[in-house]
Every structure is written in structure tokens, then in C-alpha cells.
């Protein structure tokens, strides 16, 4: 073996070791995926998916960014204020979750996918009806899309959007966001207090802060 070949070998060995080191450190920080037996429609993200940076506004007119997801656990839902059935059903369930006696401190956020109709004022009247501590968030469509994309939130408008009575078809999962602003798990409908609350508490206990 000449010197050149030896150098190449050492070079690759170093890369391999470094790679293994990074891999191991990742493995160390990420425990085995939490499993939910006999529960359909509960998806745990392992490793968690970081939220993107975004710039939106709350129903109180305050700015709302990725920073607002740091340092606390959050339960998040997407929808629109004109939604007659699915969104009120889920928000009613989330209000019940919020009132569970054993629930640790949690931020609840509703992200609209219909910024055209969901002004700050409209969202205020909408979200306060369900729970005065919930936060409703809107923003330009580009920001909503940026935020929704990595979470896999797809939505589509049905009907004439130049009129006022169009429908929005949307991905209707409840999302669990960890204190590092990462998507940890999501729960598909049907949403009720027991299902959402139980999954949330287990995810939070398992992955900690």
C-alpha cells in the first residue's frame, strides 16, 4: 500500500467515524418512538419535525411567530371560522381538554387557512366563543402556506371564493408541538376529550420538556 492510498484510507475512516458519532448522538437524544396500541390515527413524529419560521397575527392583533411556540407545549388545530361542523366539534373537544383537572400548562392555538374571510376581528369573536384563553392566528396566505407545508396541512377551496359562502376542505388533525417548537405527534378525527387528552398527556410525559 503506498502513502497516497494510506492517506485516502485514513481520510475515509475519519469521515466514517465522524458520521457514526453524529448518528449516535442523534440516537441518544431521540428515544424509541412512542407507540399507541389499538389507537388508529395517532401519528408520533420521530425524530420530531421542526416548525418553520413564520410571521402571523393573533386575534388580539399581536404578532405571532415561531418564538411563541418555544418553552411550552402546544395543541394546535387548523380550520376556518365559517366551518359549521368539523371545526366547532374539534374546538369543543379541545375546550374540554383544556379543562381537564390533571392537564399541565398548555397553549392552544387555532390557525386559520382562510385568511380572506378570517380577519382579526372575526377570529376574535370565533375563538373567544370556545375558550377565552385560546389563541387564533391568521396571516398572509404565503405565511400560512409556509407554516402548513412541513406539517402536511393540505387545504382546498370549494365553490366560488369571490362570494362569501365557499367551503374549505382541510386536513383536520390536532397537532402536538413540543417546547422546542417541533411537531411531536398528531391525532386524526374523530376528536373528543378522552382521545386527544390521553394522547397529549402520554406524549408529553414520554418526551418530557
Amino acid at each position: 500500500m503506498n502513502k497516497r492510498n494510506l492517506n485516502t484510507l485514513v481520510f475515509f475512516a475519519v469521515i466514517l467515524l465522524a458520521g457514526a458519532g453524529v448518528f449516535l448522538s442523534l440516537m441518544e437524544s431521540e428515544p424509541p418512538r412512542l407507540k399507541f396500541e389499538n389507537l388508529e390515527g395517532v401519528i408520533v413524529e420521530s425524530p420530531p419535525t421542526p416548525l418553520p419560521d413564520f410571521q402571523m397575527t393573533t386575534h388580539e392583533g399581536k404578532p405571532f411567530t415561531k418564538k411563541d411556540y418555544l418553552g411550552k407545549w402546544s395543541i394546535v388545530f387548523f380550520g376556518y371560522a365559517n366551518c359549521p361542523d368539523v371545526c366547532p366539534t374539534t374546538l369543543t373537544a379541545l375546550n374540554q381538554v383544556a379543562q381537564m383537572p390533571n392537564l399541565p400548562d398548555t397553549q392552544f392555538v387555532f390557525h386559520t387557512v382562510d385568511p380572506k374571510r378570517d380577519t382579526v376581528e372575526k377570529l376574535a369573536g370565533f375563538i373567544e366563543f370556545f375558550n377565552e384563553d385560546f389563541i387564533a392566528v391568521t396571516g398572509p396566505k404565503s405565511e400560512i402556506d409556509k407554516f402548513a407545508e412541513p406539517l402536511g396541512v393540505i387545504y382546498d377551496f370549494e365553490g366560488d371564493t369571490s362570494k362569501d359562502d365557499y367551503i374549505v376542505t382541510h386536513f383536520a388533525a390536532v397537532y402536538i408541538i413540543d417546547p422546542k417548537a417541533r411537531l411531536r405527534a398528531y391525532v386524526l378525527p374523530p376528536h373528543n376529550e378522552e382521545r386527544v387528552g390521553d394522547v397529549y398527556i402520554k406524549v408529553r410525559e414520554y418526551y418530557g420538556d
Partner: protein
């Protein structure tokens, strides 16, 4: 005065009877979900029972208290919630269909005045044989 009242009641019963005549449908527990005051779309729920030997289709829903009413089904496909406008709601003979949250419902669009808890709205269901079923539906919490 009393006679007038009785005749009015009789007239009402007669009228109700014509509305209901040879209609085998009964409706149980109709309600409208209480919604935020700003809501421009509400949802109505009920159980429609067919006591007859023939299936009945409801082909239209309307209300003097809303701009328009549609019968909607809800389905989930890979987490996407779809609402479909149903042009026919089939109530099987000796059977029933339940409209309930997260499932089939009446989509009540553009209320003519805000509806508060305990308010009532009139909803009219029309069958494929042209018969009408008039309902007084209260606003309730889920």
C-alpha cells in the same frame, strides 16, 4: 275569545295534520349547534325516523331563517375532511338516519338574524314525493 283561540288551535292542528298527512317520517331531537355570534354558517342535527314500509328520500332542505340550507355529508380521506352536498338523503323503510356532529348535518348558511342559545329556527324538509316537513329547531350547546 276562547272560541277564537280554540278554533285557531284547531286550525293549527288541521294545518299540521295536512303537513304531516301520509308522511311516515318523524324527527327526533332536532337541534342547531350554538355558534359564535359572528358565525355565518351553522350546523343542524337530528334523527329522522321512517316508520313506513317505503323508503323516503329527502331532496331539499330550506329555512325562512337562513339564506340557504344544504344537506351535507362529512368524510375523511387521509386526514382531509371533505363535506359533500347531498342532493338526496335516503331514509330506508322502517329505518332511521342520524345527522350528528362530525358526520352528516344540515349546513345552515347566512342566518337572517343572529341565533342565540334557546332561539328557534324553522327548517323545512321536502321529500321526493313533494311533501313538506316543517320543524321548529332550537339552538343548543353540544
Amino acid at each position: 275569545m276562547a272560541i277564537k283561540r280554540i278554533s285557531a288551535a284547531l286550525l293549527f292542528m288541521l294545518f299540521s295534520a295536512t303537513v304531516w298527512a301520509d308522511l311516515d317520517l318523524t324527527v327526533k331531537n332536532p337541534w342547531i349547534r350554538e355558534a359564535p355570534p359572528t358565525a355565518s354558517t351553522l350546523a343542524g342535527y337530528m334523527t329522522i325516523v321512517n316508520n313506513g314500509d317505503k323508503a323516503v328520500n329527502i331532496v331539499e332542505a330550506s329555512s325562512p331563517d337562513f339564506k340557504s340550507v344544504q344537506i351535507h355529508s362529512v368524510s375523511m380521506d387521509k386526514g382531509m375532511m371533505h363535506m359533500q352536498h347531498m342532493h338526496k338523503l335516503h331514509i330506508p323503510a322502517k329505518g332511521q338516519v342520524e345527522l350528528k356532529p362530525g358526520s352528516m348535518h344540515l349546513m345552515l348558511m347566512s342566518p337572517k338574524k343572529p341565533l342565540k342559545l334557546s332561539d328557534q329556527a324553522v327548517i323545512v324538509l321536502k321529500t321526493d314525493s313533494g311533501k313538506m316537513l316543517e320543524l321548529f329547531v332550537p339552538v343548543k350547546k353540544p
